[in-house]
C-alpha cells in the first residue's frame, strides 16, 4: 500500500486547464515514477484555487508551498529541487505585490483568500438543524449580552458605529432605522424579516436561512429588544420549502431552550417569532407591499411616508430588515463595532454576499469585503468566463440595476460606487455576460420580468414599461428606428420620475444602462439591422457561399420550410422570405459554405 508523505496539488480549474495543467500533472507523475517516488508522492488534480490570474497553480503539501505560473517544463526542477532536496524553487513562488517578498507558505497568503465570511460564517460549517452547534459557535451570546449587559440605546449605538447598512438593496443605515423605530411611541411594535428575495438569480437569503437560521432569529430578538417589540414576523416565499422547514425547526428549538418566549434568560424580555408566507411576487419584497400582504391585503405598495418605522404592520411601528442584514448583527455585537467598521470602504462597511451566476466558471455563493473589485470577484473567485470567452458585462442589482462594462472591472464594489457607475448594489445577484450576449435582448429580458411583476397600481409603471417593452421588441425584430432609441430614453426618464414605488422607479435602469454603455449595439440593430452577437434571430441572415457549395443537397433536404433550392452538384441558394432562421442548414453543412451575417 502506498503511504504518501507528500501531495502535489495541481489546479484543474478551467483557466488552469487551458494553460496545460493536465500536462503538468502528467509530467509530475512521470518524473516521480522515474525516480521511484510514486509511492511516496501523490499527484492530485483539484478544483479552481481562485487565483486564475496567476495560473497554473501548483501547491505542495504538507509544507503548503504555493507555486504560480508553473509550466510543464518547470516540473523537473520542482521535483528535483523541492521534492527530492527539500529546497523551494524561489523563482516560481508568489511574490507579494506590496512587499516584493516571495511568499513561502500558502497559509500566510492573505490575497488568496479574497472572501471573508461574516453573514455566511456558519453556512457550510454547522448543522442548521441543531441549535447546539449554533450555540457552540457563540450562538445567542450576542442576545444574552444585549439583554443582560447592555441597554437598548447602547446596543443601537454599537450597530450605528459599525456602519452596517441594509443589505436588501437600499443600503439604509441599520442602526439609524432601529433608532427611529425605537423613538416611535406605541403600545405594540413589530420586527419584520424580509425574506422575499425576488431578484432573478439571487439566492443569498435562502442560503442563509437554510444554512444558519438561528443567526436570523437571534438578530431579530436583539432588534426587538432595541426597538421595544415583543413580536417578530418572517415574511418568506413559499417557494423556499427547505428554508421554511429549517426556520421552523430553529424556532421550535429556540423556544424549547427558552431563547424565544417569555423572560428570555431571566431578563424579563419577551420575544417570539411567527412565519408568514408570500406567494412569490417580486413587488411584495418592497416593504410597504410586504406589510400589506402580511395583513391579508393585496400586495401593493403605498406612498412613503409614513414609513414602516412610524406606521407599519397593523398601523404599528415596524422595523423591516433583510435576512442578510440580520445575519450580520450577532457578530457585530460579539466582536464590536470597531471590528466591523474596519472591514470595507469608507461608506460601506463589512462584507456583501453575492450570488454569482451567468457565463462564469464557478457559479456560487460568495462573500467579499466591500471594496473588492469586480475583477477580483469575476476572475479570482469566479474563475473567469466560461469556455474562455471574452467578458462583456456584469449585471448587478437585478431588474433594478444596470450593466457594467469592462471599464468598471477595477471599480471597488460598494453602494456608492455602483450607484455612480449607473447600477446598484441591489440584494446581491451578479450575472456575468460574455460576448455572445446581446445587450438589447438582456434589457428586454429584465423588462419582461418587470412587466410580469408590476402590481399595476400606477400608470407609468404599468403602461410605460409595456411601451418600453414594445419598443425593444420592435428593435430586436429588426423594425426599430433611430427615433426609437430617443423614445426609449425619454420614456425611461418619465417612468423613473413618476412611479410610486421602487419597482417602477428603477425598472428602466437595465434599459438606460445598456443604452449608455452599449449604444453601438442598439445602433447596429436599428441602422444596419444586424445583431452583433448573433442572438436576435430575426436579424440573422443565412447565405450560401457559391464557391464553397458543392451541391450536396444536404441543406436542401434538411430545411424544414423548403426555403433552399438548387440543382444537384451546383450551388444552392436560400430564399430569405421563406427562411425562419432555424440554423439547421448551418449546422448540417459539411463544407462551411453557409455563413451567418
Amino acid at each position: 500500500m502506498a503511504d504518501y508523505t507528500m501531495h502535489v496539488l495541481v489546479c484543474g480549474g478551467t483557466g488552469c486547464k487551458a494553460s496545460q495543467s493536465e500536462l503538468i500533472k502528467l509530467n509530475f507523475q512521470n518524473r516521480l515514477s522515474e525516480l521511484g517516488l510514486s509511492d511516496e508522492v501523490q499527484v492530485v488534480m483539484t478544483g479552481c484555487f481562485g487565483f486564475c490570474e496567476k495560473g497554473p497553480i501548483v501547491k505542495i503539501l504538507p509544507d503548503n508551498t504555493f507555486y504560480v505560473h508553473v509550466t510543464p517544463e518547470d516540473v523537473t526542477e520542482l521535483v528535483e529541487e523541492h521534492i527530492v532536496k527539500g529546497r523551494k524553487v524561489e523563482r516560481l513562488l508568489y511574490v507579494d505585490p506590496e512587499t516584493q517578498a516571495s511568499v513561502h507558505d500558502a497559509k500566510g497568503m492573505e490575497f488568496y483568500k479574497k472572501q471573508v465570511r461574516i453573514a455566511l460564517r456558519n453556512c457550510g460549517f454547522i448543522n442548521p438543524e441543531n441549535i447546539d452547534e449554533y450555540i457552540a459557535r457563540d450562538g445567542y451570546a450576542a442576545l444574552g449580552s444585549c439583554l443582560l449587559e447592555k441597554t437598548p440605546e447602547e446596543t443601537i449605538r454599537i450597530i450605528k458605529d459599525s456602519g452596517l447598512r441594509g443589505r436588501g438593496g437600499g443600503g439604509f443605515p441599520t442602526g439609524l432605522k432601529w433608532e427611529i423605530t425605537r423613538k416611535s411611541v406605541s403600545d405594540q411594535k413589530y420586527v419584520v424579516c424580509n425574506a422575499d428575495e425576488g431578484d432573478p438569480g439571487a439566492f443569498m437569503d435562502r442560503s442563509i436561512l437554510e444554512g444558519d437560521p438561528h443567526s436570523v432569529i437571534e438578530a431579530m430578538a436583539i432588534c426587538g429588544y432595541c426597538i421595544g417589540a415583543d413580536k417578530g414576523l418572517v415574511y418568506i416565499r413559499a417557494e423556499y420549502p427547505l428554508a421554511v422547514e429549517r426556520l421552523k425547526i430553529a424556532i421550535k428549538q429556540a423556544r424549547e431552550y427558552g431563547l424565544l418566549g417569555e423572560d428570555i434568560m431571566g431578563s424579563g424580555f419577551n420575544f417570539d417569532i411567527e412565519i408568514r408566507y408570500g406567494a412569490g411576487a417580486f413587488v411584495c419584497g418592497e416593504e410597504t407591499a410586504l406589510i400589506h400582504s402580511m395583513e391579508g391585503l393585496r400586495g401593493e405598495p403605498t406612498v412613503k411616508p409614513p414609513f414602516p418605522a412610524e406606521s407599519g404592520y397593523k398601523g404599528k411601528p415596524t422595523n423591516v430588515n433583510n435576512v442578510e442584514t440580520f445575519a450580520n448583527i450577532p457578530p457585530i455585537i460579539n466582536k464590536g463595532a470597531g471590528w466591523f467598521a474596519a472591514i470595507g470602504t469608507e461608506k460601506s462597511k463589512g462584507t456583501k454576499v453575492f450570488a454569482l451566476a451567468g457565463k462564469i466558471n464557478n457559479v456560487g455563493l460568495i462573500e467579499v469585503p466591500m471594496g473588492t473589485t469586480l475583477r477580483e470577484v469575476i476572475y479570482d473567485i469566479g474563475g473567469g468566463i466560461k469556455d474562455g470567452r471574452e467578458f462583456k458585462a456584469v449585471q448587478t442589482g437585478g431588474p433594478s440595476g444596470g450593466c457594467l462594462t469592462k471599464d468598471f472591472l477595477d471599480t471597488p464594489i460598494d453602494y456608492d460606487n455602483l450607484l455612480a457607475a449607473g447600477s446598484m448594489m441591489g440584494s446581491g445577484g451578479m450575472i456575468v455576460m460574455d460576448e455572445t450576449d446581446c445587450m438589447v435582448s438582456i434589457a428586454k429580458f429584465y423588462l419582461e420580468f418587470t412587466l410580469d411583476e408590476s402590481c399595476g397600481k400606477c400608470a407609468p409603471c404599468r403602461i410605460g414599461n409595456k411601451r418600453l417593452h414594445e419598443i425593444l421588441e420592435r428593435i430586436t425584430e429588426g423594425n426599430g428606428t433611430k427615433e426609437d432609441l430617443d423614445r426609449l430614453r425619454m420614456l425611461s426618464t418619465v417612468i423613473k420620475d413618476a412611479s410610486l414605488c421602487g419597482l417602477g422607479q428603477t425598472s428602466p435602469n437595465p434599459v438606460l444602462s445598456t443604452l449608455d454603455h452599449f449604444y453601438d449595439e442598439y445602433l447596429a440593430h436599428v441602422d444596419s439591422k444586424t445583431c452583433p452577437s448573433g442572438q436576435c434571430k430575426a436579424l440573422l441572415k443565412y447565405t450560401i457561399l457559391e464557391d464553397k457549395c458543392t451541391g450536396c443537397t444536404l441543406c436542401f433536404r434538411n430545411c424544414p420550410v423548403g426555403a433552399i433550392s438548387g440543382e444537384k452538384r451546383s450551388p444552392h441558394y436560400i430564399d430569405q422570405s421563406l427562411c425562419i432562421k432555424c440554423g439547421v442548414c448551418y449546422e448540417k453543412c459539411k463544407f462551411d459554405a453557409i455563413i451567418i451575417g
Partner: protein, 132 residues
C-alpha cells in the same frame, strides 16, 4: 431539554456543547473520528446531495468505519455540487466537489481507508471569521 434561564446557563451550555461537538458524542476516541459534512442547501439537494449522504452513511456503516456524517448549509461551491468536507483525524479538512456515488466510493476506498487524496479537491477560498 434544559431551559436557558440566565446568561450563566448559556455559557455553561456552550461549554458543554462545544466539547460535545468536538467529540461528537463518541468521546472515547476523538482522535480516530472521521467527520464528513455534506452541503445540503437547495443547490446541493437538487444535485443529489441526499443520495450522496445516504450512500456515505450506509457504506461507512456497512464497512464498519467509525465516522460521523452530518449535513450543513451551502458552502458556496454551487457549480460543484454535491460537495462534501472530509476531516480525517489529525488533518486539515478537505473539500471535494461533484461527489456522486462513484466519487463517494472512491473517497471511502482511497482517502478514508488509505489516506490518499483523490482528484476533485476544491481549495477552500474563503476565510472564516475566527470566533464568530
Amino acid at each position: 431539554m434544559t431551559k436557558i434561564k440566565s446568561l450563566a446557563d448559556l455559557k455553561q451550555l456552550k461549554a458543554e456543547v462545544q466539547s460535545k461537538i468536538k467529540l461528537r458524542e463518541k468521546g472515547d476516541h476523538p482522535e480516530n473520528l472521521i467527520q464528513i459534512r455534506v452541503s445540503m442547501a437547495t443547490c446541493g439537494i437538487a444535485s443529489g446531495a441526499k443520495e450522496t449522504m445516504t450512500y456515505l452513511i450506509e457504506e461507512l456503516e456497512h464497512q464498519g468505519i467509525d465516522a460521523v456524517v452530518t449535513q450543513t448549509g451551502c458552502m458556496g461551491y454551487c457549480y460543484a455540487e454535491p460537495t462534501i468536507e472530509l476531516t480525517m483525524p489529525g488533518s486539515e479538512p478537505v473539500v471535494y466537489g461533484y461527489v456522486n456515488r462513484a466519487k463517494a466510493q472512491e473517497i471511502i476506498e482511497k482517502h478514508i481507508k488509505l489516506n490518499q487524496l483523490v482528484d476533485g479537491i476544491i481549495p477552500v477560498n474563503y476565510k472564516q471569521i475566527d470566533n464568530p
